[in-house]
Amino acid sequence: MTVWPEERTATIDAFNTVDMTINVGPQHPATHGVFRMVLTVDGEVVVDCEPYIGYLHRGLEKLTENHDYRQSMGWWDRTDYLAGMCCEQAYCMAVEKLGNIEVPERAEYIRVMMSELSRILSHFMFLGAFGADVGSFGTSFVYAWRERERIYDFFEEVSGDRMFPTYLRPGGVQMDLPEGYDARVRGLLGQLEQGLEDFDGLLVGNEIFVERCRNLSPVSKEDAINWGLSGPMIRATGLAHDIRRAEPYSIYPQLKFNIPVGRNGDVFDRFMVRMAEAYQSIKIVEQCLDLMPKTGLVLNPDLPKTLRIDEGECYVRTEGTKGEYGVYALAKGGNKPYRMKLRSPSFCNLSALKQMVVGHYVADAIIILGSLDIVLGEVDK
């Protein structure tokens, strides 16, 4: 029997439902900023996902090319705005590598301490925001906020600003720590550990949370490498890839810490890896306080007022809070870089969103997006 094409389509249409597109973002509570994704859903199941970025594009790289080396510091804070110190460290390391600038040892310890505090802060914000994504009505968020404010108080004390400290400088840090700072940091670490235990009880000990996150969107090691994931996303799959160990920089070789890894790269593992990392960061900060030279310079005194770098090219990799935070720098003389390029981990992790989301429920798509822990300042540069 011949079935004419029109008839066939009519028959198929009678049994098929129409897919619906839902626009999520840029103003949506679950997108953590101004990210937008267009989900095509068949009922509640996502069949396609198209991400749109660029709503927070500020031309970071071009701005850096048009400013003095030290003037650009403030822009780099605002890439991963939850962990400004980590970004500053990467930028400063790039400039120092270009200009062969020495950093005093005490400054290195202060830098690592600050960026690890930033990492704890960023991971806390992830734990809180992720809890909100899973639907924990703000409680987890407020718990995270408490720890975040505590850490910001310490940033404010050294630099005068909370979110965007602009504390680091090429060649060291802006100024020395205030008196009695390290004793207070030790007190803070105890509070942070308590905060992590609160999260452990609130979310990890919760049946619904475990049930929602376990075996959700597992990523294999091969896929993680092929998709260019980094940071906690790749460590959740079981690969212990951490730039602080793989290509050590600053004083990390002298510090003892473990690299937490997951088992099968599902959402729960991503959550747990970040949580375990925060514990490790607390250990690192403790060691920094122990090993830090008690006195000494914190800023290279030989630097000229205007930093001029002749010629050079470098790529600096650091372990940002979201993954490999790389800075490519090219100098061709003068007081400005010729080219600055940011390899932002959030952007690379986000590029795998579609593969992870398709085939899951809408509610799970939101959780998977949350588990990527993107920061739009970093994605859009």
């Binding site: 619906m20 597109t21 839902i22 949506h28 509570p29 679950a30 509640e44 809890g131 909100a132 994504d133 899973v134 639907g135 924990s136 009505f137 703000g138 409680t139 407020v142 718990y143 408490r146 452990d200 009880g201 609130l202 979310l203 990890v204 000990g205 919760n206 049946e207 619904i208 949370f209 475990v210 049930e211 929602r212 079981g238 690969l239 212990a240 890839h241 951490d242 160990r245 793989a246 070789p253 510090l255 003892k256 810490f257 473990n258 690299i259 937490p260 890894v261 997951g262 747990m272 890896v273 949580m275 375990a276 514990y279 429920y361 809408v362 509610a363 799970d364 939101i366």
Partner: protein
């Protein structure tokens, strides 16, 4: 007192209107202070203070909110279905108001003393879905559509265990009244609990009722239709001003209605523990304290647990709650037919309740959370 017929020696139609006005006013006050109470309680759970600025300890915050909402612009989206959109808030509100009509707040205190009160309550509450579907479909918004469809699926499913858990109690009322089919009159059900509340005899039915109630109220962990982080409020996403506040009013009024209902059916209502002869103020106070206890439980659960996914929600209903409530009803039937002692009812139901609690937390207790961090080994570069 309010059941007295007619009230104030007035013609029956004025009498009816007067009763409705009394209950609406009482409900409005309760709702305003429930929103205030929720904000305060949730704030304490979250280490905040909640409203403090409006009035002493923020006491008139609810009234200020109500005034603000009434003053806001009533926006209707262009592609909304006009009448469906505009009538939906009322269609959700009226069933809740009607439920409040039959609830006995104290002995003979209520608007109407219906013989089929319990049946009336869940028959009318089923109509709630109509308004929610109207809002979901009429808004012309995809989030609202998803929310409405989710709400319909969820409420229809959870109504079944809810009703069966209530029927378990109704079966026992038969035995308490000396044989027969029992009663559906809420006032009588409360009076029968003078010695012991039915939660003692039926803990499993109570747990099922409480869980299904959370689901019917769209409260966490079953707030899937209004999931803030997924579909931004669900079916009422497009509403603003007075219509949005109608939805809020409905939400809190139904929470209160359910709490009073649960207090009457399971916690002894006005009769327990002060006896049916207590002064009306004590009876009223005892009902209100029990319902507030219910509401605090709802707030507590809301601030603590995350949200379920829609398929987990459904499987929990059909694979756990429904079979357990059916088994409970069967056990009740066997025990009551053979006239075995009521302690057996309490025992079997308590065992069932233990099983239900175990099913809910089985994974969380098997994996001590402190171990989870420790199981993550270090691979690759060795720790130095």
């Amino acid at each position: 007192m309010l059941f007295a017929d007619p009230l104030f020696d007035l013609p029956s139609w004025i009498d009816a209107i007067a009763r409705v006005i009394i209950i609406v006013l009482a409900m409005t006050v309760v709702v305003i202070y429930l929103t205030y109470g929720e904000r305060k309680v949730v704030a304490r759970f979250q280490q905040r203070l909640g409203p403090t600025e409006t009035g002493p300890a923020g006491l008139i915050q609810g009234i200020a909110d109500a005034v603000k909402l009434v003053g806001k612009e009533d926006i209707r989206p262009n592609n909304a279905d006009r009448w469906v959109f505009e009538l939906a808030p009322y269609a959700t509100f009226i069933p809740v108001l009607m439920v409040l009509m039959v609830l006995p707040f104290a002995e003979d205190w209520g608007v109407r003393d219906l013989r089929l009160g319990l049946f009336f309550v869940f028959a009318i509450l089923g109509l709630n879905i109509v308004g929610i579907m109207m809002a979901g479909l009429g808004s012309g918004n995809k989030y609202a559509l998803l929310g409405g469809v989710r709400a319909a699926a969820q409420m229809i499913s959870y109504e079944i265990p809810l009703i069966i858990s209530l029927l378990c109690v109704v079966m026992i009322t038969g035995a308490d009244m000396g044989g027969g089919a029992g009663t559906l009159n809420l006032n009588t059900i409360a009076a029968l609990q003078e010695d012991r509340p039915y939660i003692v005899l039926q803990p499993l039915a109570f747990l099922i009722f409480f869980t299904a109630m959370l689901s019917e109220l769209h409260r966490a962990p079953f707030d899937i239709p209004v999931a803030e982080s997924e579909i931004v409020g669900g079916y009422f996403v497009e509403y603003s001003g007075i219509r949005w506040s109608m939805f809020q009013l409905t939400e809190y009024a139904s929470m209160w209605a359910f709490s009073v209902f649960g207090a009457v059916v399971f916690l002894g209502g006005w009769a327990w523990p002060f006896g049916a002869d207590a002064h009306w103020s004590i009876q009223l106070g005892s009902t209100m304290v029990k319902s507030i206890g219910f509401i605090l439980m709802i707030f507590w659960v809301r601030t603590t647990v995350p949200r379920l996914r829609i398929d987990q929600l459904m499987s929990f209903c059909w694979k756990v709650l429904l079979p357990m409530s059916l088994v409970q009803m069967l056990m009740n039937g066997v025990i009551l037919v053979y006239d075995w002692p009521q302690e057996l009812l309490a025992l079997t139901s308590a065992l069932g309740a233990g099983a239900l609690v175990y099913i809910i937390i089985r994974r969380a207790i098997r994996r001590p959370s402190t171990d989870l961090v420790g199981t993550y080994k270090t691979l690759g570069a060795p720790a130095q």
